[in-house]
Structures are given as structure tokens and as C-alpha cells.
């Protein structure tokens, strides 16, 4: 029964994504950016659905299982402020530039802004490398969900294969519009079903107060930050949500807005949506200790699915599992499409066709790369470590550390390609250094004081950008006029 519901759900997602093809205009801009025509509702749903991954749904509840309620302040409430602020200050400006200059990708923007092919290529490689672990989060999340919810009858590799296949069909067929439609549907599904799971499981524990009192008796340390989270960690963790400023898939979604005003509603509602998803996720992670007291390490990432399996009747369990699938796929689709777009526009079109590429070829290559990226991701997911949370934080750290690039490009006329290159090189060196330390010692903080490595890398890349730019020749006046037109 559970499996039937999930398969029906997946068919529905494919149908919705494919239905959008009726509006397809046959151009590259339409395939990759839905002709920059999305309204507020679709923009909100696709921005939110894209950003809420298996990391939020599975990883956060797993982390709350170990660390307690402090996880909410660490990741959710900081994101509720920082992410919409990035949309407000960066997203709206990127949209305006993209519309005026006809930009399709992030790399295009940076390459033109600083007039350097080499810089664009380096950035392309770094962005792809950082996105791969993020993609793996989605595919692994799908596998874990199906494996748990079917009590081990369906192996994890089948779940991952299902997720990849469904995403491949509707992204290839519907492009960005199909992705946005499917995202909107899936965001409604996972928010609604997440809320349902929350109330149902709480009811089984005698209500919220009774459940929390039981946790207080058995694991009182989960109800406070205490020694789980150091104050400096809470402070410096606010750097992590800056990663949205450099995600290629968020950049792509910003460009799809119909006009600047389209951002107004998503900006106001985004913090509420964050709370709506993370409150159930963190609460259930903490309560999970009552039913499953002995999960170690990454095994806790499946706590939500275990709770659903234990408490919900079969039909509801199937629906709730579909909700987790929804969260997983609504991120994976945009990430895959953004990589496909980058390969097509930044490599094939720029180097292979010298920007002279027919609309038909752009779409063809876009579809090919979407398929190729999904195949590679799936194969990698079969062989890599499954610690979803661990993978996610390092991916986010890298993107957040690149944030000074977009700030300098948009707001600092004096910034130069050498400053940007110095900033990139600093990120690569420091990220590699801290990654080695963090991978060997999970939870590693700088000097053991709670300072997240992202804060140090961010400071280093900012400094490199400033020094590198000030020591080199200012950019040409023509470039400044193009990117900073007088109002």
C-alpha cells in the first residue's frame, strides 16, 4: 500500500511537470528560465522548495535527535532572517541585471562583470564541485526514505533510482517551467504532510506537553542549548545561510521573476515558511529519542521516517513518505537544471559555439546535460558516505565563503578580476584545510571555541577581495557604466 501511494505520487509529479510543456515557446530562454515570466506564488514556492532539501527534513531532525532544540536557532531562525535578506539585497539586483543584460547563468555574469574567461571557468569548476555533495543529499535522502518506510523491502539504491528517474523526466521535458510547477506542488505537499505527521505523532505521545515532559525526564539536556552548542557557534553559524547568495540554482530562480515587485510576497512570507517546516522537523527529532533511544551517528537521519513508520497507519505512512520525497525532489530538480544550464551556456555555447548557438541546440544540450548529471550523481550516491548532514554543511560552507564575490560584483565598482581571483583562491585553500580537519573530527570548530570554519573562510575571502582589488588597476569605465547604470 505504502509503495503504491508513493508510485502514484511520483506519477502525479511527472504529470504536473510535463503538463507545463503546453506553454513551452521553443526557445533556450524559455527552457532555462521560463521566459522570465513567473509570478509571486510560483517564485515563492520554487525558491522555498528548492532551498528546503532532505537536509532540512531528514538532516535537521537527525541533528535535533543528537543535539536537541538548539538546532532550530542554529539553522532555522538564522535562515529565516538571513535568506530573505539575501533575496532582498542580492536577488532583486541580480534579477534586474539579468533582465537588462539577458543573462542566463551566474558564471556569465561574473565573467562579463570582471571581463575574464579564466575567472568564469574557475568559478564554474568550483560551483559544480560544491554542488555535487548537495545533489547527493537528495538522492541519498530518497533512498533512505523508501528503504525505511518499506521496512527494508526496497533497497536504498531503488529509492535513489526512482528519485533520479522522475526528476529526469519532468526536468528534461518541462525545463524550468516544469520544475517550478512541480516545485510548487511538492512544496504544498511537504508542508501540509509535514504538519500532518507532526500532529499525528504528537497525538500518539499524548500531546506536545506530555511528550516534552517525557523528554525532560529522560533527556533534559535536549531541551536546552547547554554544552551541545557554544554561543560562538550560534553567532558564526549565521554565515552559513549566506550560501544562498551563491547557489547556482537560486541565481537561476531569481532570474525567472516577471518583475522586481514579484519578490515582495516571497520576501515577506519566507520566514514563516521556514518556521512551518523546521518546527515539526526539530520537535520530532527530539521526541524521537523516546521511541528510538539508541541511534548513533548518521543513523539518526532516518528518525523522522522511523517515527512515521512506527506511529502512522499504512496509508498515512505512504503519504508522509511522499512528503519526504517531495522535499527531496523539489531541490534536486532545480540543482540539476542549473548545472545543465551552466554546462550548456558556459561551456558548450561559450567555448564550442562562440555564443552562436541555435535555440534548438541549446535545448538539446540542456536536456543532455540534465540526464548526464543525474546519471553521475546516482552512481556517486551508491558509493559515497551517507552522512547527509555532514555533506550538507561542507557544501554550504563553500558557497557561503564565495559570498564576497557577489557582494563585490554588485556593490563595489572598484573590485577587479584579480581581487575576485584572490578571493576564489583563498576560499579553495582554506576550505580544503578546514574540510580535512572537519572530516577527521566531526563538529570541529576553530580553536575548539565554537567558531565555525565558514566565518574564518568568509573573512579570508573578503580580505583577499579587498586587497587584491586595491592593488590592481581599476576596471574600465565602460564596464562600470554597463553594470552600474545611473538611475
Amino acid at each position: 500500500m505504502t509503495l503504491t501511494i508513493i508510485i502514484l505520487y511520483l506519477c502525479l509529479v511527472v504529470a504536473i511537470g510535463s503538463l507545463s510543456h503546453r506553454l513551452f515557446r521553443g526557445t533556450g530562454e524559455d527552457y532555462f528560465l521560463a521566459s522570465r515570466s513567473l509570478g509571486s506564488f510560483l517564485l515563492l514556492m520554487s525558491l522555498f522548495g528548492t532551498n528546503m532539501t532532505a537536509f532540512a527534513i531528514l538532516g535537521a531532525s537527525g541533528e535535533a535527535y543528537h543535539e536537541g532544540i538548539g538546532v532550530f536557532g542554529l539553522m532555522a531562525s538564522s535562515s529565516a532572517l538571513i535568506i530573505p535578506l539575501v533575496f532582498f539585497f542580492i536577488g532583486t539586483r541580480v534579477w534586474a541585471l539579468g533582465k537588462r543584460l539577458g543573462l542566463l547563468t551566474q558564471v556569465q555574469y561574473f565573467r562579463q562583470r570582471w571581463g575574464s574567461d579564466a575567472l568564469g571557468l574557475a568559478l564554474f569548476i568550483i560551483l559544480i564541485a560544491l554542488l555535487i555533495p548537495y545533489l547527493l543529499i537528495g538522492v541519498s535522502g530518497g533512498g533512505i526514505t523508501l528503504h525505511q518506510i518499506t521496512k527494508g523491502q526496497v533497497p536504498e539504491w531503488v529509492g535513489g533510482l526512482l528519485v533520479c528517474s522522475v526528476v529526469m523526466i519532468y526536468v528534461c521535458y518541462g525545463g524550468l517551467r516544469g520544475t517550478a510547477w512541480a516545485n510548487a506542488f511538492q512544496t504544498v505537499v511537504f508542508v501540509t504532510l509535514g504538519g500532518t505527521a507532526f500532529f499525528f505523532i504528537l497525538q500518539q505521545h499524548g500531546g506536545l506537553l506530555a511528550a516534552m515532559k517525557a523528554v525532560s525526564a529522560s533527556n533534559p539536556d535536549l531541551l536546552i542549548r547547554g554544552d551541545h552548542i557554544k554561543p560562538l557557534k550560534l553567532l558564526t553559524y549565521t554565515c552559513i545561510p549566506l550560501s544562498v547568495g551563491m547557489f547556482p540554482h537560486m541565481f537561476m530562480h531569481w532570474l525567472t521573476a516577471r518583475r522586481a515587485e514579484t519578490f515582495r510576497v516571497p520576501l515577506k512570507l519566507y520566514p514563516i515558511f521556514i518556521a512551518a517546516v523546521w518546527v515539526p522537523s526539530v520537535t520530532l527529532g527530539v521526541i524521537g529519542r523516546l521511541d528510538f533511544p539508541d541511534l548513533h551517528g548518521p543513523a539518526a537521519n532516518s528518525i523522522l521516517v522511523r517515527l512515521i513508520d512506527l506511529h502512522a497507519p499504512e496509508v498515512l505512512a505512504g503519504l508522509l513518505a511522499a512528503g519526504v520525497f517531495a522535499a527531496v525532489m523539489s531541490s534536486l530538480d532545480s540543482q540539476v537544471l542549473s548545472i545543465g544550464t551552466m554546462f550548456t551556456q558556459d561551456i558548450v555555447r561559450h567555448y564550442g559555439f562562440r555564443e552562436q548557438m541555435s535555440e534548438r541546440h541549446q535545448i538539446l544540450y540542456g536536456r543532455f546535460f540534465v540526464c548526464a548529471v543525474l546519471v553521475v550523481t546516482y552512481v556517486l550516491s551508491l558509493t559515497t558516505d551517507r552522512s547527509i548532514f555532514k555533506l550538507g554543511v561542507w557544501s554550504f560552507t563553500g558557497f557561503a565563503a564565495l559570498f564576497p564575490l557577489v557582494v563585490a560584483a554588485l556593490f563595489w565598482r572598484r573590485s577587479t578580476k584579480y581581487g575576485a581571483a584572490a578571493s576564489l583562491a583563498t576560499v579553495v585553500c582554506l576550505w580544503t584545510y578546514f574540510f580535512q580537519l572537519g572530516w577527521a573530527t566531526p563538529g570541529h570548530t576553530v580553536g575548539g571555541a565554537g567558531i565555525m570554519p565558514v566565518a574564518v573562510i568568509l573573512a579570508g575571502s573578503t580580505l583577499a577581495m579587498i586587497i587584491g582589488s586595491l592593488l590592481t588597476r581599476p576596471p574600465d569605465e565602460s564596464v562600470i557604466r554597463r553594470f552600474f547604470p545611473q538611475p
Partner: protein, 76 residues
Amino acid sequence: MNKSVSRGLLYCILLLLYLFHNDLWLWYDARLVAGLPVGFVYHILFCFAAATMLTLLVTYAWPEHLAVDEDDEEAP
């Protein structure tokens, strides 16, 4: 109040809100409020404060100069 003053004021409130994210005074407080630990409730309320802040920014500090006329667009 002119636009730059209201914008400046909003940015000050924004900084204050960011600082209030660090609720050190609730670090070891396990009291339950409305069925949830007080530190958790604080951060849920913080999300609503963030939504209010964004509403104020959108209303009073919107970057009007970003509107793009069709004439301004360059060929890709």
C-alpha cells in the same frame, strides 16, 4: 520622515534584530512555555520578527531603481 532616514532607521533595527538572535540568557533555561522549551519558543518568535522586519523593508526601503523598462534591455 524622508526615505534615507527611514531606511537608515530600518537598517539599525535590522542590526539589533540580528544581535537578538544570540539569546545567551536562555542558554540553560529548560522551562516549558506552551508545551515547548522557552529557548525554542524564543526562536520561533524570532522567525515572526524576521517576517515583520522583511515586511518593513519591502514597504519602506524597496529599491525602486531596479524596475527595468523593455527599452533598457540589451540583446543577449
